[in-house]
Protein backbone atom coordinates (compact mmCIF):
# COMPACT_ATOMS: atom_id res chain seq x y z
CA UNK A 1 0.00 0.00 0.00
CA UNK A 2 2.80 2.39 0.84
CA UNK A 3 4.39 2.04 -2.58
CA UNK A 4 1.18 3.15 -4.24
CA UNK A 5 1.85 6.65 -2.94
CA UNK A 6 4.46 6.93 -5.64
CA UNK A 7 2.74 4.91 -8.31
CA UNK A 8 0.72 6.25 -11.23
CA UNK A 9 -2.01 3.78 -10.33
CA UNK A 10 -3.54 3.22 -6.94
CA UNK A 11 -3.85 -0.09 -5.11
CA UNK A 12 -7.19 -0.76 -6.80
CA UNK A 13 -5.75 -0.35 -10.28
CA UNK A 14 -7.14 3.11 -10.98
CA UNK A 15 -4.91 5.47 -12.90
CA UNK A 16 -4.27 8.62 -10.94
CA UNK A 17 -5.20 11.82 -12.73
CA UNK A 18 -2.38 13.98 -14.13
CA UNK A 19 -3.05 16.66 -11.55
CA UNK A 20 -3.12 14.17 -8.65
CA UNK A 21 -1.89 15.79 -5.47
CA UNK A 22 0.75 13.26 -4.35
CA UNK A 23 1.87 15.45 -1.47
CA UNK A 24 -1.57 15.76 0.05
CA UNK A 25 -2.17 12.07 -0.53
CA UNK A 26 1.04 11.08 1.17
CA UNK A 27 0.19 13.25 4.12
CA UNK A 28 -3.18 11.58 4.40
CA UNK A 29 -1.92 8.04 3.77
CA UNK A 30 0.83 8.22 6.38
CA UNK A 31 -1.71 8.97 9.07
CA UNK A 32 -4.35 6.67 7.63
CA UNK A 33 -2.06 3.63 7.43
CA UNK A 34 -1.37 3.89 11.15
CA UNK A 35 -5.06 4.11 11.76
CA UNK A 36 -5.73 1.11 9.51
CA UNK A 37 -3.20 -1.04 11.32
CA UNK A 38 -4.84 -0.24 14.64
CA UNK A 39 -8.29 -0.89 13.25
CA UNK A 40 -7.24 -4.22 11.77
CA UNK A 41 -6.15 -5.41 15.20
CA UNK A 42 -9.44 -4.31 16.68
CA UNK A 43 -11.38 -6.07 13.93
CA UNK A 44 -9.47 -9.27 14.55
CA UNK A 45 -10.54 -9.22 18.19
CA UNK A 46 -14.11 -8.39 17.19
CA UNK A 47 -14.15 -11.39 14.86
CA UNK A 48 -13.36 -13.66 17.78
CA UNK A 49 -16.59 -12.69 19.49
CA UNK A 50 -18.71 -12.15 16.41
CA UNK A 51 -17.31 -14.31 13.62
CA UNK A 52 -20.57 -14.21 11.62
CA UNK A 53 -20.62 -10.41 11.84
CA UNK A 54 -24.10 -10.45 13.32
CA UNK A 55 -25.63 -7.01 13.37
CA UNK A 56 -25.46 -5.18 16.69
CA UNK A 57 -24.62 -1.70 17.88
CA UNK A 58 -20.96 -2.53 18.36
CA UNK A 59 -20.66 -3.85 14.84
CA UNK A 60 -22.43 -0.79 13.49
CA UNK A 61 -19.86 1.42 15.18
CA UNK A 62 -17.07 -0.75 13.83
CA UNK A 63 -18.45 -0.55 10.31
CA UNK A 64 -18.55 3.23 10.55
CA UNK A 65 -14.85 3.19 11.34
CA UNK A 66 -14.20 1.16 8.20
CA UNK A 67 -14.13 -2.54 7.34
CA UNK A 68 -10.55 -3.72 6.68
CA UNK A 69 -9.99 -4.30 2.97
CA UNK A 70 -9.35 -8.00 3.41
CA UNK A 71 -12.71 -8.42 5.17
CA UNK A 72 -14.74 -6.14 2.93
CA UNK A 73 -16.14 -8.74 0.55
CA UNK A 74 -17.46 -11.14 3.18
CA UNK A 75 -18.19 -8.21 5.50
CA UNK A 76 -20.48 -6.51 3.01
CA UNK A 77 -22.24 -9.81 2.29
CA UNK A 78 -23.02 -10.41 5.97
CA UNK A 79 -23.94 -6.93 7.15
CA UNK A 80 -26.11 -6.12 4.12
CA UNK A 81 -28.32 -9.19 4.30
CA UNK A 82 -26.68 -10.58 1.17
CA UNK A 83 -26.14 -13.88 2.91
CA UNK A 84 -29.81 -14.08 3.82
CA UNK A 85 -30.75 -13.41 0.21
CA UNK A 86 -28.35 -16.14 -0.91
CA UNK A 87 -29.80 -18.59 1.62
CA UNK A 88 -33.31 -17.74 0.51
CA UNK A 89 -32.72 -18.30 -3.21
CA UNK A 90 -30.11 -21.04 -2.94
CA UNK A 91 -26.44 -21.01 -3.73
CA UNK A 92 -27.08 -22.34 -7.23
CA UNK A 93 -28.87 -19.18 -8.26
CA UNK A 94 -25.91 -17.48 -9.90
CA UNK A 95 -25.19 -20.53 -12.11
CA UNK A 96 -28.86 -20.76 -13.04
CA UNK A 97 -29.09 -17.08 -13.91
CA UNK A 98 -26.01 -17.36 -16.11
CA UNK A 99 -27.83 -20.01 -18.15
CA UNK A 100 -31.06 -18.05 -18.38
CA UNK A 101 -31.41 -16.24 -21.71
CA UNK A 102 -31.83 -12.47 -21.60
CA UNK A 103 -33.26 -9.93 -24.01
CA UNK A 104 -30.83 -9.32 -26.90
CA UNK A 105 -31.12 -5.53 -26.65
CA UNK A 106 -30.21 -5.63 -22.98
CA UNK A 107 -27.27 -7.87 -23.73
CA UNK A 108 -26.06 -5.50 -26.44
CA UNK A 109 -26.16 -2.44 -24.18
CA UNK A 110 -24.18 -4.35 -21.56
CA UNK A 111 -21.68 -5.43 -24.22
CA UNK A 112 -21.16 -1.83 -25.34
CA UNK A 113 -20.67 -0.65 -21.76
CA UNK A 114 -18.13 -3.30 -20.70
CA UNK A 115 -15.12 -1.66 -22.38
CA UNK A 116 -16.45 1.71 -21.20
CA UNK A 117 -16.28 0.69 -17.55
CA UNK A 118 -13.15 1.97 -15.82
CA UNK A 119 -11.14 1.93 -19.08
CA UNK A 120 -8.21 3.48 -17.21
CA UNK A 121 -8.11 0.77 -14.59
CA UNK A 122 -5.35 -1.75 -15.14
CA UNK A 123 -7.65 -4.58 -14.04
CA UNK A 124 -10.27 -3.73 -16.66
CA UNK A 125 -8.20 -3.91 -19.80
CA UNK A 126 -9.73 -5.23 -23.07
CA UNK A 127 -10.59 -8.93 -22.90
CA UNK A 128 -9.37 -9.21 -19.32
CA UNK A 129 -10.93 -11.79 -17.02
CA UNK A 130 -12.50 -8.94 -15.08
CA UNK A 131 -14.25 -7.60 -18.18
CA UNK A 132 -15.62 -11.07 -18.91
CA UNK A 133 -16.72 -11.53 -15.31
CA UNK A 134 -18.38 -8.11 -15.29
CA UNK A 135 -20.33 -9.06 -18.41
CA UNK A 136 -21.52 -12.29 -16.79
CA UNK A 137 -22.50 -10.54 -13.55
CA UNK A 138 -24.55 -7.88 -15.35
CA UNK A 139 -26.22 -10.49 -17.58
CA UNK A 140 -27.05 -12.73 -14.62
CA UNK A 141 -28.42 -9.72 -12.78
CA UNK A 142 -30.59 -8.80 -15.79
CA UNK A 143 -31.79 -12.39 -15.99
CA UNK A 144 -33.08 -12.38 -12.44
CA UNK A 145 -34.43 -8.82 -12.67
CA UNK A 146 -36.04 -8.67 -16.13
CA UNK A 147 -38.04 -5.57 -15.15
CA UNK A 148 -34.81 -3.70 -14.59
CA UNK A 149 -32.62 -5.40 -17.15
CA UNK A 150 -29.62 -3.13 -17.27
CA UNK A 151 -29.27 0.48 -16.20
CA UNK A 152 -26.12 2.43 -16.99
CA UNK A 153 -24.35 3.03 -13.72
CA UNK A 154 -24.73 -0.56 -12.57
CA UNK A 155 -21.56 -1.27 -14.56
CA UNK A 156 -19.54 1.02 -12.28
CA UNK A 157 -21.05 -0.46 -9.14
CA UNK A 158 -20.56 -4.07 -10.22
CA UNK A 159 -17.07 -3.21 -11.46
CA UNK A 160 -15.99 -1.77 -8.14
CA UNK A 161 -17.62 -4.64 -6.25
CA UNK A 162 -15.56 -6.99 -8.39
CA UNK A 163 -12.32 -5.13 -7.69
CA UNK A 164 -12.94 -5.40 -3.96
CA UNK A 165 -14.50 -8.85 -3.56
CA UNK A 166 -12.48 -10.45 -6.38
CA UNK A 167 -15.32 -12.94 -6.59
CA UNK A 168 -18.00 -12.67 -9.24
CA UNK A 169 -20.63 -14.60 -7.36
CA UNK A 170 -20.28 -12.37 -4.28
CA UNK A 171 -20.51 -9.45 -6.59
CA UNK A 172 -23.78 -10.76 -8.04
CA UNK A 173 -25.33 -11.08 -4.58
CA UNK A 174 -24.13 -7.68 -3.46
CA UNK A 175 -25.52 -6.10 -6.59
CA UNK A 176 -28.83 -7.81 -5.93
CA UNK A 177 -28.96 -6.75 -2.31
CA UNK A 178 -28.23 -3.15 -3.27
CA UNK A 179 -30.79 -2.96 -6.03
CA UNK A 180 -33.49 -5.18 -4.59
CA UNK A 181 -33.27 -4.27 -0.90
CA UNK A 182 -31.20 -1.20 -0.15
CA UNK A 183 -32.00 1.29 -2.92
CA UNK A 184 -35.63 1.93 -3.71
CA UNK A 185 -36.34 1.66 -7.43
CA UNK A 186 -33.27 3.59 -8.57
CA UNK A 187 -32.48 1.57 -11.68
CA UNK A 188 -35.96 0.71 -12.95
CA UNK A 189 -37.07 1.68 -16.45
CA UNK A 190 -38.52 4.97 -15.20
CA UNK A 191 -35.83 5.58 -12.55
CA UNK A 192 -38.58 6.88 -10.28
CA UNK A 193 -36.70 6.04 -7.10
CA UNK A 194 -33.69 8.14 -7.96
CA UNK A 195 -35.82 11.07 -9.16
CA UNK A 196 -37.72 10.97 -5.87
CA UNK A 197 -34.54 10.70 -3.81
CA UNK A 198 -32.95 13.67 -5.58
CA UNK A 199 -36.00 15.72 -4.63
CA UNK A 200 -35.84 14.35 -1.09
CA UNK A 201 -32.21 15.39 -1.00
CA UNK A 202 -33.06 18.88 -2.16
CA UNK A 203 -35.60 19.17 0.68
CA UNK A 204 -33.04 17.95 3.18
CA UNK A 205 -30.60 20.59 1.95
CA UNK A 206 -33.33 23.16 2.38
CA UNK A 207 -33.74 22.01 5.96
CA UNK A 208 -30.07 21.62 6.87
CA UNK A 209 -28.37 24.23 4.66
CA UNK A 210 -31.09 26.68 3.64
CA UNK A 211 -28.64 29.23 2.16
CA UNK A 212 -27.27 26.72 -0.32
CA UNK A 213 -30.77 25.66 -1.21
CA UNK A 214 -31.76 29.26 -1.91
CA UNK A 215 -28.59 29.85 -3.88
CA UNK A 216 -29.24 26.82 -6.11
CA UNK A 217 -32.72 28.11 -6.83
CA UNK A 218 -31.47 31.63 -7.48
CA UNK A 219 -28.92 30.36 -10.02
CA UNK A 220 -31.52 27.99 -11.49
CA UNK A 221 -29.40 24.92 -10.90
CA UNK A 222 -31.56 21.82 -10.42
CA UNK A 223 -30.11 19.29 -8.00
CA UNK A 224 -30.57 16.59 -10.63
CA UNK A 225 -27.70 18.05 -12.64
CA UNK A 226 -25.34 17.49 -9.76
CA UNK A 227 -26.75 14.66 -7.73
CA UNK A 228 -27.92 12.11 -10.31
CA UNK A 229 -24.48 10.60 -10.57
CA UNK A 230 -24.03 10.69 -6.79
CA UNK A 231 -27.11 8.57 -6.26
CA UNK A 232 -26.84 6.32 -9.33
CA UNK A 233 -23.16 5.48 -8.85
CA UNK A 234 -23.35 5.58 -5.06
CA UNK A 235 -20.47 8.08 -5.14
CA UNK A 236 -18.15 5.75 -7.03
CA UNK A 237 -16.49 7.73 -9.83
CA UNK A 238 -17.30 10.80 -7.73
CA UNK A 239 -15.42 10.63 -4.43
CA UNK A 240 -11.83 9.40 -4.02
CA UNK A 241 -11.77 5.60 -3.98
CA UNK A 242 -10.90 5.07 -0.32
CA UNK A 243 -13.71 7.41 0.69
CA UNK A 244 -16.17 5.65 -1.61
CA UNK A 245 -15.35 2.34 0.04
CA UNK A 246 -15.87 3.78 3.50
CA UNK A 247 -19.21 5.16 2.31
CA UNK A 248 -20.15 1.74 0.97
CA UNK A 249 -19.26 0.10 4.31
CA UNK A 250 -21.91 2.30 5.92
CA UNK A 251 -24.32 1.96 3.00
CA UNK A 252 -24.32 -1.83 3.22
CA UNK A 253 -24.97 -1.70 6.95
CA UNK A 254 -27.27 1.29 7.33
CA UNK A 255 -28.99 1.58 4.00
CA UNK A 256 -29.75 4.31 1.50
CA UNK A 257 -29.96 7.15 4.02
CA UNK A 258 -26.16 7.17 4.04
CA UNK A 259 -26.22 8.66 0.53
CA UNK A 260 -28.09 11.69 1.85
CA UNK A 261 -25.56 12.10 4.63
CA UNK A 262 -22.66 12.09 2.21
CA UNK A 263 -24.34 14.63 -0.05
CA UNK A 264 -25.28 16.85 2.88
CA UNK A 265 -21.75 16.66 4.25
CA UNK A 266 -20.31 17.88 0.94
CA UNK A 267 -22.83 20.69 0.72
CA UNK A 268 -22.34 21.73 4.31
CA UNK A 269 -18.56 21.62 4.30
CA UNK A 270 -18.26 23.54 1.04
CA UNK A 271 -21.13 25.90 1.73
CA UNK A 272 -19.00 29.04 1.38
CA UNK A 273 -17.41 27.91 -1.88
CA UNK A 274 -20.84 27.12 -3.30
CA UNK A 275 -22.33 30.42 -2.12
CA UNK A 276 -19.43 32.31 -3.68
CA UNK A 277 -20.38 31.07 -7.16
CA UNK A 278 -22.12 33.76 -9.13
CA UNK A 279 -23.47 31.77 -12.03
CA UNK A 280 -24.54 28.26 -12.89
CA UNK A 281 -21.31 27.62 -14.74
CA UNK A 282 -19.04 28.33 -11.79
CA UNK A 283 -21.41 26.41 -9.54
CA UNK A 284 -21.13 23.36 -11.80
CA UNK A 285 -17.32 23.67 -11.76
CA UNK A 286 -17.40 24.04 -8.00
CA UNK A 287 -19.38 20.83 -7.52
CA UNK A 288 -16.87 19.06 -9.76
CA UNK A 289 -13.89 20.30 -7.80
CA UNK A 290 -15.06 19.91 -4.20
CA UNK A 291 -15.11 16.11 -4.38
CA UNK A 292 -11.39 16.14 -5.19
CA UNK A 293 -10.41 18.37 -2.28
CA UNK A 294 -8.36 17.21 0.73
CA UNK A 295 -11.44 17.02 2.96
CA UNK A 296 -13.24 14.21 1.08
CA UNK A 297 -9.88 12.55 0.39
CA UNK A 298 -9.32 12.36 4.10
CA UNK A 299 -11.92 9.63 4.34
CA UNK A 300 -11.68 9.01 8.03
CA UNK A 301 -12.43 12.57 9.05
CA UNK A 302 -15.01 12.86 6.31
CA UNK A 303 -16.98 9.82 7.50
CA UNK A 304 -16.65 10.81 11.14
CA UNK A 305 -17.94 14.32 10.49
CA UNK A 306 -20.77 13.12 8.33
CA UNK A 307 -22.21 11.45 11.42
CA UNK A 308 -21.47 14.25 13.85
CA UNK A 309 -22.06 17.41 11.83
CA UNK A 310 -25.22 16.67 9.93
CA UNK A 311 -27.34 15.90 12.93
CA UNK A 312 -29.99 13.27 13.12
CA UNK A 313 -31.35 11.83 9.93
CA UNK A 314 -33.84 9.16 10.92
CA UNK A 315 -35.10 6.72 8.31
CA UNK A 316 -38.64 7.74 9.27
CA UNK A 317 -37.93 11.30 8.08
CA UNK A 318 -36.51 10.03 4.78
CA UNK A 319 -39.47 7.71 4.28
CA UNK A 320 -41.97 10.48 5.04
CA UNK A 321 -40.26 12.74 2.52
CA UNK A 322 -40.21 9.95 -0.04
CA UNK A 323 -43.93 9.40 0.42
CA UNK A 324 -44.63 13.11 0.21
CA UNK A 325 -42.60 13.59 -2.98
CA UNK A 326 -44.10 10.49 -4.59
CA UNK A 327 -47.62 11.70 -3.84
CA UNK A 328 -46.85 15.11 -5.31
CA UNK A 329 -45.41 13.52 -8.43
CA UNK A 330 -48.42 11.28 -8.85
CA UNK A 331 -50.76 14.23 -8.48
CA UNK A 332 -48.75 16.25 -11.02
CA UNK A 333 -48.73 13.34 -13.48
CA UNK A 334 -52.47 12.95 -13.14
CA UNK A 335 -53.10 16.59 -13.85
CA UNK A 336 -50.79 16.58 -16.91
CA UNK A 337 -52.51 13.54 -18.36
CA UNK A 338 -55.88 15.18 -17.70
CA UNK A 339 -54.72 18.31 -19.50
CA UNK A 340 -53.53 16.22 -22.40
CA UNK A 341 -56.96 14.58 -22.68
CA UNK A 342 -58.62 17.97 -22.69
Amino acid sequence: MTTSTFSKTDEYGFKRPDDFDYLEYEKFMTAYLNYLTRRNMEWISLMIYNPQLKRNSKLKKFVRTGIPLILRGPGWISVSGGQKLKDKYGSNTYRQMLDKPINEDVKNIILVDIPRTYPDNIYFQPNSDNQKALFRILCAFAACNPDIGYCQGLNYIAGLLLLITKNEESCFWLLRVLVENILPDYYSKTMDGVIVDIEVFSRLVKKKCPEVSKHMIALEMPWALVATKWFICLFSEVLPIETTLRVWDCLFYEGSKILFRVGLMLVKHYKHDLLACEDISSLAECFKSIVQQPFPLNCHIFIKQMFTEIGSLPMSLINDLRKQVTAERNAANKSTSKNKKV
Binding site: R116, Q152, T190, I195, D279, E285, S289
Partner: protein, 211 residues
Protein backbone atom coordinates in the same frame (compact mmCIF):
# COMPACT_ATOMS: atom_id res chain seq x y z
CA UNK B 1 -9.85 23.30 -14.75
CA UNK B 2 -11.84 26.46 -14.45
CA UNK B 3 -9.06 28.39 -16.20
CA UNK B 4 -9.89 26.71 -19.46
CA UNK B 5 -13.20 28.48 -19.44
CA UNK B 6 -11.67 31.92 -19.25
CA UNK B 7 -11.89 33.48 -22.68
CA UNK B 8 -8.48 34.29 -24.07
CA UNK B 9 -7.58 37.22 -26.20
CA UNK B 10 -4.35 38.32 -27.82
CA UNK B 11 -2.26 40.67 -25.71
CA UNK B 12 -3.07 44.29 -26.01
CA UNK B 13 -6.23 43.82 -27.98
CA UNK B 14 -9.27 45.69 -26.78
CA UNK B 15 -11.58 43.19 -25.21
CA UNK B 16 -14.73 42.47 -27.14
CA UNK B 17 -18.03 41.03 -26.13
CA UNK B 18 -18.37 37.72 -24.35
CA UNK B 19 -21.53 35.74 -24.92
CA UNK B 20 -22.37 32.71 -22.83
CA UNK B 21 -24.70 30.04 -24.08
CA UNK B 22 -26.01 26.88 -22.57
CA UNK B 23 -25.65 23.94 -24.95
CA UNK B 24 -26.93 20.43 -24.33
CA UNK B 25 -25.93 17.19 -26.05
CA UNK B 26 -28.60 14.57 -26.59
CA UNK B 27 -28.72 11.24 -28.37
CA UNK B 28 -28.72 7.48 -27.92
CA UNK B 29 -26.15 5.75 -25.75
CA UNK B 30 -22.63 5.36 -27.21
CA UNK B 31 -23.16 7.49 -30.33
CA UNK B 32 -20.24 9.66 -29.22
CA UNK B 33 -21.71 12.61 -27.33
CA UNK B 34 -19.00 12.69 -24.67
CA UNK B 35 -16.34 12.03 -27.28
CA UNK B 36 -17.46 15.05 -29.31
CA UNK B 37 -17.26 17.22 -26.22
CA UNK B 38 -13.89 15.81 -25.19
CA UNK B 39 -12.53 16.48 -28.68
CA UNK B 40 -13.95 20.00 -28.73
CA UNK B 41 -12.90 20.97 -25.22
CA UNK B 42 -9.61 19.12 -24.71
CA UNK B 43 -8.65 18.00 -28.19
CA UNK B 44 -8.55 14.40 -26.99
CA UNK B 45 -10.12 11.13 -28.01
CA UNK B 46 -10.45 7.90 -26.06
CA UNK B 47 -11.34 4.73 -27.92
CA UNK B 48 -13.29 3.65 -24.86
CA UNK B 49 -14.99 6.68 -23.37
CA UNK B 50 -16.57 6.08 -19.97
CA UNK B 51 -20.36 6.00 -20.08
CA UNK B 52 -21.83 9.26 -18.81
CA UNK B 53 -24.16 9.00 -15.83
CA UNK B 54 -26.61 11.84 -15.30
CA UNK B 55 -24.97 14.88 -16.80
CA UNK B 56 -21.40 16.11 -17.17
CA UNK B 57 -20.48 19.78 -17.35
CA UNK B 58 -17.70 21.38 -19.39
CA UNK B 59 -17.02 24.76 -20.91
CA UNK B 60 -15.21 25.94 -24.00
CA UNK B 61 -14.84 29.34 -25.61
CA UNK B 62 -14.44 30.06 -29.29
CA UNK B 63 -13.87 33.36 -31.01
CA UNK B 64 -15.95 34.76 -33.81
CA UNK B 65 -14.50 38.03 -35.07
CA UNK B 66 -14.56 40.23 -31.97
CA UNK B 67 -16.99 38.12 -30.00
CA UNK B 68 -15.95 35.42 -27.58
CA UNK B 69 -18.61 32.73 -27.44
CA UNK B 70 -18.46 30.68 -24.28
CA UNK B 71 -20.34 27.40 -24.39
CA UNK B 72 -21.59 25.94 -21.13
CA UNK B 73 -21.90 22.36 -22.25
CA UNK B 74 -24.14 19.80 -20.57
CA UNK B 75 -23.33 16.32 -21.79
CA UNK B 76 -26.01 13.77 -20.93
CA UNK B 77 -26.54 10.06 -20.40
CA UNK B 78 -27.94 8.39 -23.50
CA UNK B 79 -29.76 5.32 -22.23
CA UNK B 80 -33.50 5.49 -22.84
CA UNK B 81 -34.41 5.28 -19.16
CA UNK B 82 -32.53 8.48 -18.38
CA UNK B 83 -35.01 10.24 -20.62
CA UNK B 84 -37.20 11.38 -17.75
CA UNK B 85 -34.30 13.49 -16.46
CA UNK B 86 -33.65 15.14 -19.83
CA UNK B 87 -36.05 18.11 -19.50
CA UNK B 88 -33.98 19.29 -16.53
CA UNK B 89 -30.86 19.16 -18.67
CA UNK B 90 -32.20 21.03 -21.69
CA UNK B 91 -34.24 23.56 -19.77
CA UNK B 92 -33.02 27.01 -20.62
CA UNK B 93 -30.58 25.76 -23.27
CA UNK B 94 -30.09 28.05 -26.26
CA UNK B 95 -28.45 25.33 -28.31
CA UNK B 96 -28.52 21.57 -28.63
CA UNK B 97 -26.50 19.04 -30.55
CA UNK B 98 -28.50 15.92 -31.25
CA UNK B 99 -26.07 13.14 -32.05
CA UNK B 100 -26.52 9.84 -33.88
CA UNK B 101 -24.13 7.19 -35.13
CA UNK B 102 -23.98 6.98 -38.94
CA UNK B 103 -23.47 3.21 -38.70
CA UNK B 104 -26.66 2.66 -36.75
CA UNK B 105 -30.08 3.51 -38.19
CA UNK B 106 -31.85 3.13 -34.82
CA UNK B 107 -29.79 5.95 -33.35
CA UNK B 108 -30.94 8.21 -36.21
CA UNK B 109 -34.58 7.45 -35.39
CA UNK B 110 -33.88 8.23 -31.76
CA UNK B 111 -32.26 11.50 -32.82
CA UNK B 112 -35.42 12.47 -34.68
CA UNK B 113 -37.41 11.90 -31.49
CA UNK B 114 -35.05 14.17 -29.59
CA UNK B 115 -35.47 16.87 -32.22
CA UNK B 116 -39.25 16.60 -31.99
CA UNK B 117 -39.13 16.82 -28.22
CA UNK B 118 -36.82 19.84 -28.26
CA UNK B 119 -38.99 21.64 -30.80
CA UNK B 120 -42.03 21.01 -28.68
CA UNK B 121 -40.66 21.56 -25.20
CA UNK B 122 -37.32 23.36 -25.13
CA UNK B 123 -36.63 27.10 -25.15
CA UNK B 124 -38.37 28.66 -28.16
CA UNK B 125 -35.80 29.60 -30.78
CA UNK B 126 -33.29 26.99 -29.57
CA UNK B 127 -30.60 26.36 -32.19
CA UNK B 128 -30.50 22.65 -32.93
CA UNK B 129 -27.66 20.94 -34.74
CA UNK B 130 -27.81 17.36 -35.92
CA UNK B 131 -24.49 15.51 -35.82
CA UNK B 132 -23.99 12.23 -37.68
CA UNK B 133 -20.98 11.02 -35.73
CA UNK B 134 -18.42 8.26 -36.38
CA UNK B 135 -17.67 9.49 -39.89
CA UNK B 136 -14.40 7.58 -39.59
CA UNK B 137 -16.51 4.42 -39.91
CA UNK B 138 -17.84 5.59 -43.27
CA UNK B 139 -17.44 2.13 -44.82
CA UNK B 140 -19.92 0.73 -42.30
CA UNK B 141 -22.42 3.51 -42.85
CA UNK B 142 -26.12 2.70 -42.66
CA UNK B 143 -27.57 6.23 -42.52
CA UNK B 144 -27.14 8.00 -45.87
CA UNK B 145 -26.00 11.61 -45.88
CA UNK B 146 -28.84 12.62 -48.23
CA UNK B 147 -31.44 11.26 -45.87
CA UNK B 148 -30.14 13.19 -42.86
CA UNK B 149 -29.47 16.30 -44.92
CA UNK B 150 -33.06 16.36 -46.17
CA UNK B 151 -34.42 15.71 -42.71
CA UNK B 152 -32.30 18.49 -41.25
CA UNK B 153 -33.31 20.92 -43.98
CA UNK B 154 -37.01 20.18 -43.52
CA UNK B 155 -36.72 20.73 -39.79
CA UNK B 156 -34.53 23.80 -39.86
CA UNK B 157 -31.54 22.12 -38.23
CA UNK B 158 -27.86 22.64 -38.75
CA UNK B 159 -26.36 19.41 -40.00
CA UNK B 160 -22.87 17.98 -40.20
CA UNK B 161 -21.29 14.58 -40.22
CA UNK B 162 -18.56 14.47 -37.64
CA UNK B 163 -15.85 12.27 -36.27
CA UNK B 164 -14.70 12.75 -32.71
CA UNK B 165 -11.94 10.28 -33.52
CA UNK B 166 -10.39 12.16 -36.47
CA UNK B 167 -11.81 15.51 -35.25
CA UNK B 168 -13.54 16.05 -38.60
CA UNK B 169 -16.15 18.81 -38.35
CA UNK B 170 -16.08 18.89 -34.55
CA UNK B 171 -15.00 22.49 -34.06
CA UNK B 172 -16.95 23.34 -37.20
CA UNK B 173 -20.28 22.24 -35.80
CA UNK B 174 -19.80 24.26 -32.62
CA UNK B 175 -18.70 27.20 -34.72
CA UNK B 176 -21.76 26.91 -36.95
CA UNK B 177 -23.94 26.95 -33.85
CA UNK B 178 -22.09 29.97 -32.46
CA UNK B 179 -22.68 31.80 -35.72
CA UNK B 180 -26.36 31.07 -35.70
CA UNK B 181 -26.91 32.09 -32.07
CA UNK B 182 -28.19 35.63 -31.62
CA UNK B 183 -25.42 37.73 -30.15
CA UNK B 184 -27.12 41.06 -29.77
CA UNK B 185 -29.08 41.83 -26.68
CA UNK B 186 -32.27 42.93 -28.41
CA UNK B 187 -32.94 39.44 -29.74
CA UNK B 188 -32.40 37.86 -26.38
CA UNK B 189 -35.50 35.81 -25.73
CA UNK B 190 -34.11 33.00 -23.71
CA UNK B 191 -34.05 33.16 -19.97
CA UNK B 192 -31.48 31.27 -18.02
CA UNK B 193 -28.01 30.55 -19.28
CA UNK B 194 -27.76 33.32 -21.85
CA UNK B 195 -25.61 36.18 -20.74
CA UNK B 196 -24.01 38.94 -22.67
CA UNK B 197 -21.31 40.74 -20.80
CA UNK B 198 -18.64 43.31 -21.45
CA UNK B 199 -15.48 41.43 -20.84
CA UNK B 200 -13.57 43.69 -18.45
CA UNK B 201 -14.55 42.47 -15.03
CA UNK B 202 -16.91 40.16 -16.82
CA UNK B 203 -17.23 37.80 -13.91
CA UNK B 204 -18.45 40.49 -11.63
CA UNK B 205 -20.72 42.63 -13.69
CA UNK B 206 -23.49 40.72 -15.33
CA UNK B 207 -25.08 43.47 -17.31
CA UNK B 208 -28.78 44.06 -17.42
CA UNK B 209 -29.27 42.19 -20.66
CA UNK B 210 -28.00 39.00 -19.18
CA UNK B 211 -31.08 37.78 -17.56
Amino acid sequence: MANRAVPQRPNGQTPGKICQFKLVLLGESSVGKSSLVLRFVKGQFHEYQESTIGAAFLTQTIHLNDVAVKFEIWDTAGQERYHSLAPMYYRGAQAAIVVYDITNQDTFERAKNWVKELQRQATPGIVIALAGNKLDLNTMRSVQTDESQTYAYENGLLFMETSAKTSANVTEIFKAIAEKLPKNETTNTAGQGRRLVESEGANKSLSSCCK
